[in-house]
């Protein structure tokens, strides 16, 4: 086909078939039409394409706003909370949710909404920190194992197998006894147990990416291994890594809550949503049963939002993936 033929065809497409295209692809917007019609395609950066696809995923967008609102409320609790922390009003009867006390009053006479906001700081902080740290460690280990193969790869796999056997709860209990009950200890132990699944995902991705031509080209032009991993391999697997990070955050929030519920996590006077549920376990069936609803509801909402954002990210990075 000669150049002029191609031009004519593009001309015909752009003028006459546009309406057909609109019918066939109802979801196509200007950008797609321009590309299909071949008339002056607008260049878009990869980043813009990804953000555009993310913002088309409605649950993810709504979740982002809800999660941001929860984050702002919790970490700005000192300004947002209607009452002071640990403030006990002895004259106030212990009552359920009302206009004055949004989530009611807890067994000790404190405003439950205020307590939830402050406890959320701990839950969210631990969840996010564990998600990020385990992703960084997991990426580093997985990339090294997948890129260099050999002994390092073997060692990583055996290490992972070993920690499938050793119960995580035992590791946490020992570490908390040894280093004392600190948020940092909990974060490090949970991250230390969670990075291995990230490493496995990263490793398998790197294994296939390292055989690609562009990596060979980079190596031929003299790029160092670090540069190849960070500049050529990492950008190509950003999608799975970010999806895994969100899953990690969701998992860590639930894990922390479960541990605190069992009495192995956050210790008083500190509190987290899991700890609040553990404190409220005794009220089941009584007139203060509302105390078990709200901390769990917060956990559910936050984890649901994080999961939806993960879904949105996956669709944005990998539009062909089925779900």
């Amino acid at each position: 086909m000669t150049l002029s033929d191609e031009d004519t065809q593009a001309e015909v497409l752009s003028i006459e078939k546009i309406e057909t295209i609109i019918e066939v692809m109802p979801e196509a917007d200007e950008g797609d039409l321009e590309l299909v019609a071949g008339a002056e395609p607008v260049a878009r950066s990869q980043f813009r394409l990804i953000t555009r696809r993310f913002f088309r995923h409605k649950p993810a967008v709504i979740s982002t706003f809800v999660l941001l609102a929860v984050l702002v409320m919790c970490f700005g609790a000192s300004w947002v909370a209607p009452f002071k922390r640990n403030q006990i009003d002895l004259l106030e009867p212990i009552v359920g949710p009302s206009r004055h006390h949004l989530f009611g009053i807890d067994q000790l006479g404190r405003d439950y909404f205020t307590e939830i906001l402050f406890a959320g700081q701990v839950s969210l902080k631990i969840g996010i920190a564990v998600g990020l740290i385990s992703t960084i460690i997991g990426f580093t280990a997985g990339a090294i194992a997948g890129y260099f193969r050999g002994a390092i790869d073997n060692a990583l796999m055996r290490f992972t197998d070993l920690f499938l056997l050793i119960p995580g709860l035992a590791v946490l209990a020992v570490a908390l006894k040894y280093f004392g009950y600190k948020d940092l200890t909990i974060i490090l132990v949970l991250a230390g147990l969670a990075w291995m699944s990230v490493a496995r995902v990263v490793r398998s991705q790197v294994l296939s990416l390292r055989e690609k031509e562009f990596v060979e080209a980079a190596r031929a032009s003299g790029a160092s291994s670090t540069r190849i991993i960070l500049r050529h391999i990492l950008p190509n697997m950003l999608g799975p890594i970010m999806v895994n990070a969100t899953l990690g955050i969701a998992g860590a929030i639930i894990t922390e809550a479960t541990l605190s519920f069992l009495g192995f996590g956050i210790q008083p006077p500190k509190s987290s949503w899991g700890k609040m549920l553990s404190d409220a376990e005794g009220v089941i069936g009584g007139d203060k049963a509302y105390l078990i609803y709200f901390p769990g509801l917060m956990l559910l909402i936050v984890v649901l939002c994080v999961n939806f954002i993960g879904d949105g990210l996956r669709d944005a990075f990998d539009p062909q993936a089925k779900h």
Partner: protein, 323 residues
């Protein structure tokens, strides 16, 4: 097949040895089994005696070695707190746990396969959308909170509001005192713990089954089967489902191992004296013999589940059987 099994067992033995040593060392470094004799009269003398009795005066490696050599001769030692034999404790607890796992996996599989197949066959129908949203909720739901809500809404609330003598579903242990065997009493005890145990696996597995069923239904041999005039039911169940079950089988084996961990929460909340509770009390007391017995029993189960998965896999896919 036999060779494969043997190899898998051979691989896990060195890992088990290392894991048992790490746990032994970690618990010994942080827990002192003689701590509870500190308040007794002649504390120094009693503790010295007990240290000798437990063998604590010898180096750590020697202690671990004597535990290991006894362990392979089916002497798993005694509990530091109760003085009971670990073998008796484990076998007593295992009975409860096996019941829970059996019912949990069975119910989860049946519901997940039904939901998955229905959602795949009627893709994007109202039912599919409903099940999809439920699965999002199920994945994000903290299991222990779900258990608390179940107790509140299905057991305690109906009892107080309808003035029943007994709650519809019980939430302590698996039998009322004096009852045994499979009867109405057993089922009324079983419903809530099994629901707690299976909410997450139903959510995950049904999504999994839906995806693999959709994959299979778009395959060429399904179209062929429809084209030659087979009834829709036969095509979906015999040609579709049988092939779509394969991925779920391997997933089940992996997750059933995780179910072993999920038991800790379920058994704690519903006061069922199974393996999860055994583990939790042993961990709280630093009872190293019980912990190690628990860990190695758990490891055997993981291996067994994988084995079972391989057998079922061979049953479903004759190509693997031939090899």
């Amino acid at each position: 097949m036999f060779k494969f099994v043997l190899r898998r067992i051979m691989f896990s033995i060195p890992l088990l040895v290392i894991a048992s040593f790490i746990v032994f060392w970690g618990i010994r470094a942080t827990f002192d089994p003689t701590a509870r004799y500190r308040q007794s009269r002649d504390a120094a003398k009693v503790i010295a005696e007990k240290r000798k009795e437990f063998g604590l005066d010898r180096p750590l490696v020697a202690q671990w070695w004597s535990w290991a050599t006894k362990f392979v001769r089916r002497d798993w030692g005694t509990s530091y707190t109760t003085g009971d034999k670990v073998t008796t404790m484990v076998s007593r607890a295992l009975g409860f746990t096996l019941q829970l796992i059996f019912w949990g996996v069975l119910i989860s599989l049946v519901v997940a396969i039904f939901v998955g197949v229905y959602s795949a066959v009627k893709q994007y129908s109202v039912g599919d959308v409903f099940f999809t949203s439920m699965s999002y909720l199920g994945v994000a739901m903290p299991p222990f909170w779900f258990a608390l809500l179940l107790i509140q809404f299905t057991a305690v609330w109906p009892k107080t509001h309808w003035h029943l003598d007994h709650p519809i579903f019980y939430f302590v242990n698996l039998h009322s005192t004096g009852q045994s065997g499979i009867n109405m009493d057993y089922i009324r005890h079983l419903v809530l713990p099994v629901l707690t145990l299976s909410v997450q696996s139903i959510a995950v597995w049904s999504r999994f089954q839906r995806a693999s069923m959709l994959d299979v239904l778009s395959a060429d041999y399904i179209r062929t089967a429809r084209a030659k005039g087979l009834p829709r039911r036969t095509v979906i169940l015999k040609h579709g489902l049988r092939n779509a079950l394969l991925p779920l089988v391997s997933q089940t084996a992996v997750d059933a191992a995780a179910l072993f961990g999920g038991l800790v929460i379920t058994e704690q909340i519903f006061s069922i004296p199974g393996m999860g509770r055994l583990f939790l009390t042993a961990l709280q007391n630093g009872d190293v013999n019980v912990l190690l017995g628990w860990m190695l029993t758990g490891a055997v189960f993981v291996i067994l589940f994988n084995l079972l998965a391989d057998i079922v896999y061979g049953f479903l896919d004759p190509r693997i059987r031939v090899q």
